[in-house]
Structure formats: C-alpha cells, structure tokens
C-alpha cells in the first residue's frame, strides 16, 4: 500500500471533521416558552367520550367525513388523518368496567397537535411551510410553500402532520388550534364545545397554574372545574380522580402547548415517552454547528481547492 498511515489519517481527519464536531460542541439551541402562548389542557378524567369535540372540529375546520367499513353510517376515524384533526381514543383493559382505572378499567385520550415549544415539524420543513406563530405559538401550515416531502411527518414525535395520500394534488393537514377562530377572538372549537370542561382553552401560563391546582386536589373530594376556557366563570363541580402526578407536555419533548392530565399512565394512552430535550434541538445543534454562516464549509472548500491544485500539479510532473 502506497498510502502512508500518516497521510491516511490526516486526510480522514480533514474529511470527517465536519461530522465529528457536533457531539463535541453541545451548545444549547433549546427554545423557551412564549409568554403569550395559547394552548389546551385536556383532562382525561373529565372526558366522558361524547366526541362533541370531534364534531365541533369537523364543522369549524370544514373537514370531510371519515368512514371505515363499507357502510357510511358513522364518522369513525380510527386515528388522526388528513380528514381528522382531533380524535378521542379509548384505552381499555380487561373488563373495562371502571373509568380512569388502569387495570380492568378504561380511559379516554384526546389526540391532536401538541403545538410543541420547539416543534420538530417547523425545524424539519425545508420550505418553511410549517411555522410557529411568534406570539401565540400556534403551529400552522402553509400549503403554498409546501413541497410535499413529508419530512414533518417523519420528524413529529406525535405523528401529527398527515398527508393526503389519495389526492394527486395533496397537502399536509394538521390541527392549527382553530387559529381562524382565535384571530376573531374566539377559542378552539373542541374546547368551546366540550360539555364537561375536559378540554379547556387558554393562555399556557394559566393552563399550567390550573394543572398545578388539579394536581394538589384530594381524590374523592368535589372541586370546581372551568368549562371551555381556563378563565371561564362557568364552572362544573366534579369528583376528583387520582391523577397521575405528572403533567404531560410540561417538559416532554422540550415542552408542548397542549397538556394532558390523566389517571392512567400516559404511555398506556398512546403518548410517546420523550426526553425533556427536543429532538429538533439535537438535530439543529448538529446542523448549526456545521453550517452556521457556512464558515466551516467555506474553510473546507478552500482546503480542498488547495489539495486538488496540488494533486493536479503532481500529475503534470
């Protein structure tokens, strides 16, 4: 072999420095909560599974019906899809007799966009079709920018962005927290139609306070719960269940603006177990370390030009 060990290692170091750098530099690119962010607090123990939120969501967003099976009797999506932005799913175990119990019980869970503090879809989208509102933090989609690559769907830890597979001119579809209603001073349809206060809409900072209040409630006693909006004066009195002492979305995946409370463990309800640091920030860290201002690539490019020139000279000699 004519390649000297030294040469080889030198060259390798040069070409691999790009890729080796990221883990070494762990500068944080984590995002913080926006002060005026809006969101939803979903309390599984208050949800009765009436699916009024699903009906309201379809109406408010003008979404098509989704059927399964040959008979078109019910609107029965099995999951979120390009036709369904909001779905109530049911956890069942054994005899499924008692609500909000893990063993032999059942519980409901609402799935919708979590409106992450550091959304993977926004980070991933090459064409800036996914954007996070700088004020409300609502993550919305712009079909005129989208190229349909579906990287947002790959990236989202909650599997929220959905694609119109059967449309030759497809788009991505996702919950945008009824931002057309929010713009008019209204609230998300799912929360406004929820009869029990299982979904309440409001500023994230108020929702966090409300969630904390619920965590300190004594199970079995009766408490007041706001309906529709966190600041609502309409209250309902419910008997408090034994909450899992964990607010899903407070820190999960870097934090979200949709929060979940439940009496059944969240992984049983189909919510992913995520680290407190968003994967988006990890990927961005690598990306920004390497390509910030394109300095590193330009330096490497300069080096390469030198090397190529040298090699061409050698060839001529």
């Amino acid at each position: 072999m004519k390649i000297k060990r030294r040469d080889f290692l030198k060259g390798l170091a040069g070409s691999a420095v790009l890729a080796m750098a990221p883990p070494a530099i762990a500068a944080s690119s984590e995002k913080n909560r926006l002060p005026d962010a809006l969101g939803i607090l979903y309390d599984s123990t208050l949800c009765v599974g009436c699916q009024a939120c699903m009906v309201a969501c379809k109406k408010a967003n003008n979404m098509p019906m989704e059927y399964s099976g040959s008979q078109r009797l019910w609107e029965n999506p099995v999951d979120l899809s390009s036709k369904t932005l909001n779905v109530i799913k049911e956890y069942e175990n054994g005899a499924a007799k008692i609500k909000d119990r893990e063993i032999d019980g059942y519980a409901f869970i609402k799935r919708q966009c979590m409106h992450c503090v550091d959304p993977a879809c926004v980070s991933a989208c090459p064409a800036t079709a996914m954007t996070k509102d700088p004020k409300t933090g609502i993550v919305s989609y712009n079909k005129d920018a989208c190229i349909g690559c579906r990287y947002c769907a790959v990236a989202c830890p909650f599997d929220i962005p959905k694609f119109e597979w059967d449309n030759p001119f497809p788009k991505i579809v996702k919950c945008q927290l009824c931002n057309h209603l929010v713009a008019k001073g209204q609230i998300a349809a799912c929360a406004s139609e929820c009869p029990t206060g299982a979904s309440i809409f409001g500023p994230v900072k108020d929702l966090l306070i409300e969630a904390e209040r619920r965590q300190t409630m004594i199970p079995g006693k009766y408490y007041e719960f706001p309906v529709a909006e966190v600041s609502s004066t309409t209250k309902q009195v419910h008997k408090v269940k034994q909450y899992i002492p964990y607010l899903y979305g407070k820190n999960d995946g870097g934090g979200t603006q949709t929060f979940m409370m439940a009496a059944v463990p969240f992984n049983k309800l189909g919510l992913p177990t995520l680290p407190d640091r968003s994967y988006a920030s990890m990927a961005e860290n690598i990306q920004h370390t390497l390509y910030k201002g394109m300095i590193l690539p330009i330096v490497v490019f300069g080096g390469l030009i030198f090397l190529v020139k040298r090699s061409e000279k050698n060839k001529k000699e």
Binding site: R72, W74, E75, V78
Partner: protein, 371 residues
C-alpha cells in the same frame, strides 16, 4: 240561504272553553313553534283581540283527506276550537255543513268579501296533464280554482305532501301530472307543511304564528317552516343511541326489533328526512311510526317518500361519530401483497444469480491469468 252565517250557533255552544285550557293551548303553540313560553300570552292576545276571526278557505285536490283526518285528531286545541274560535273556516269540503251549490256560493262569497285577508289552505296536488280533467270540482278543473282563489289570498298554505310537492300521486309514472302547489303557483310564497299526513300541530302552529306576528314563520328553501322541518328526524330519534352504538334490528320481529333497536337497517329514512315527528309525536298519545317499530319512510320529503323503496337503507346526512371509540392502537398498513413478494423474490434471485455468474467468471479469469 243567502246569509251564510255558518259559525255563530256552534260558536255559542263552544264558548265554554275555560281560560286555563285556552292558555294551555297557546303555550303549547308557542313551544311547538320554538318560541319562548311567554309568547303564549302574546298568542292568546292576538287570537282573542282579533275583531274578526281570520277567514280560512280550505281546498281539496288530489288527496285522501288524511291531512284533514289527522288534524281532526288534535285535542289542544280541538279542531272545533280551531275552526270555531280561532279562525273562520269558510269553506272546507269535508267539514262544510252545506253542500253542492250552497257550498260553492259560500266559497265565492268568502273570497270576494275577504279578498287579501283570508288564508288559503290547499290539501292535495293539482293534476296538470290533459287540461286538468283528473280532478274537477263543480265542473271546473281544480287548478283553475286554486289559481283564482290564491290570487286573492293573504297567505297560501300547502298542507300534506301532495300539496307540498305532489305526494304519492306524483310517483313515477305520474299519470295525472300531479303537481305540488308551490310549483303550480310558482312566484307565490307558499308555506308547505309536508307529511303524509303532517302533524296537525305543525299546521296549527303555522296559523297561530301568522295570526300572532302578522307574518309567516321562517321558511327553508322548500317553503317549510323551519321550526318543524329544520332538523332531521334522525337527530331527535329516541332510538338514536342504538344507532350510535351499532345496535340494529336486522329484520322485523327479530330480537333487535323487539328490544327496540334502531330501524336503520330496515330502511328507516329518518337520517335523510327533515321533520319533527321524533320530537312532536302524533295524535296526543305519543305515537309515530318509529316507536311502533315501523321505520320512517320519509313521507314528507320529496324524492324519498313514495320514491325510494321501503327497505332501501338511507344515506346518512350530518354524519357524527359512533359511540364506539377507536382504540389507542390500530394495526394498519404493511400487508405484503403477492405481487410485491414475487417481485422482490425475483429481484433477489436475479441479483444472486448475476453475482454468482460474475464471481465465477472472475474466478475463471483469475485461474486463466495464473495459468
């Protein structure tokens, strides 16, 4: 009998309706019209303050008189109360005391005297084929009479499906050219109270509304009062929870049928028929087809009743989620089709074959080089 005073003697006899009964009636009217309860008082005032009871002329065309029969079975108010205290029923072929020329004269007089003030109610469709010869009254085609009377009416109400859109006579092949009044009198506002028969209270409420507020109730695109025809039967059906849960009677008399399950699979047209039968039952005993175990056949809806076969399953409008929730996990995708498997097998085989051949050649070449 020149002076046709048709109502007075009977009126005297019925003066005994108690105030309490009367107020009860007005309250019920208000409720069935979707007005606040307090509006009952307003209705009572409108009715009692009227200097003269509003004259009503009721014409019968191609029909079975079922609408009238249904109306006769109302009890609050009773039909007597309606026609004697509330309105002045000047002409009604079934209820007329007089007959023949006498009756025709009453019609003529009332139309002339009350021009622009009376309410015209039409029951039955108008045959338009062959010069209208299929329905002649006093020697004249029914259509001519309708046109003539309607021209002077303050309001026109088409009662029953026949009058509203042609009813059963208009079913294919429609030999008489049966036509509903709104279409026959196109250009005139006609309030339709379809149904076969319609609930009498829907008719009475419409009349009471007109008397009280001096205007017609809010109508939908087909001229039906929204308070009665604004929603699907399916939406208020007492068997709706069975539908949502997927519990159906599969055939007449089976276990599901006896348990009172949803009749959808027996051809119930409730999901596509707009009417208030499921909320306001008939005949004051809470009867209506579905609670007797008979699927709705969409009698009041054009294009459904007398048109779609009885046992054909309805299309669902305003689809909503069933009461069965999807599970947390659903297995989807990933089925390996035979074609895909065969294709992959073929590719794999071809690749291995090509690789083997190439390797062999290389080996041979190697040997050749060495030798």
């Amino acid at each position: 009998m020149k002076d046709l005073n048709f109502t007075d003697p009977v009126n005297e006899k019925l003066k005994g309706v108690s105030r309490r009964d009367f107020m009860k009636f007005c309250g019920i009217m208000a409720v069935s019209m979707g007005l606040p309860l307090g509006a009952g008082t307003q209705i009572a005032q409108a009715i009692t303050n009227a200097k003269r009871r509003p004259p009503v002329i009721w014409l019968h065309g191609q029909e079975c008189t079922g609408c009238t029969e249904s109306l006769l079975r109302t009890s609050h108010p009773s039909i007597e109360h309606l026609i004697l205290d509330l309105i002045s029923l000047d002409y009604h072929e079934t209820l007329n005391v007089g007959a023949g020329h006498q009756a025709e004269a009453a019609l003529k007089k009332s139309v002339e005297d009350n021009a622009g003030k009376f309410i015209l109610v039409v029951e039955g469709s108008v045959p338009v084929k062959d010069g209208g010869r299929y329905c002649m009254i006093a020697g004249r085609p029914f259509g001519d009479i309708v046109k003539e009377v309607a021209a002077k009416a303050a309001a026109v109400i088409a009662i029953g499906s026949c009058a509203s859109w042609g009813g059963w006579q208009s079913s294919d092949p429609n030999p008489t050219g049966a036509t509903g009044i709104p279409e026959f009198l196109s250009g005139t506002t006609v309030v339709s109270i379809p149904g076969c028969p319609p609930n009498g209270y829907n008719f009475m409420s419409t009349v009471a509304y007109f008397l009280t507020l001096k205007k017609l109730p809010e109508l939908d695109a087909l001229g039906r009062p929204k308070f009665a025809y604004g929603r699907l039967i399916h939406e208020n059906c007492e068997r709706r929870p069975h539908f949502d849960a997927g519990r159906f009677a599969e055939q007449f008399g089976d276990e599901g049928h006896r348990l009172g399950y949803c009749l959808y699979k027996l051809g119930c047209k409730g999901p596509m028929t707009r009417n208030n039968c499921s909320a306001l039952h008939y005949c004051d005993v809470g009867a209506w087809p579905v609670n007797t175990g008979r699927p709705c056949f969409g009698c009041s809806e054009e294009g459904i009743g007398f048109t779609i076969p009885l046992f054909t399953e309805a299309d669902i409008e305003n689809v909503t989620p069933s009461s069965v929730h999807p599970p947390i996990q659903t297995t989807r995708g990933g089925g390996i089709s035979k074609g895909a498997a065969a294709l992959l097998g073929g590719i794999g085989g071809a690749a291995i074959g090509a690789g083997a051949v190439a390797a062999k050649r290389l080996g041979d070449k190697d040997k050749g080089d060495n030798s």
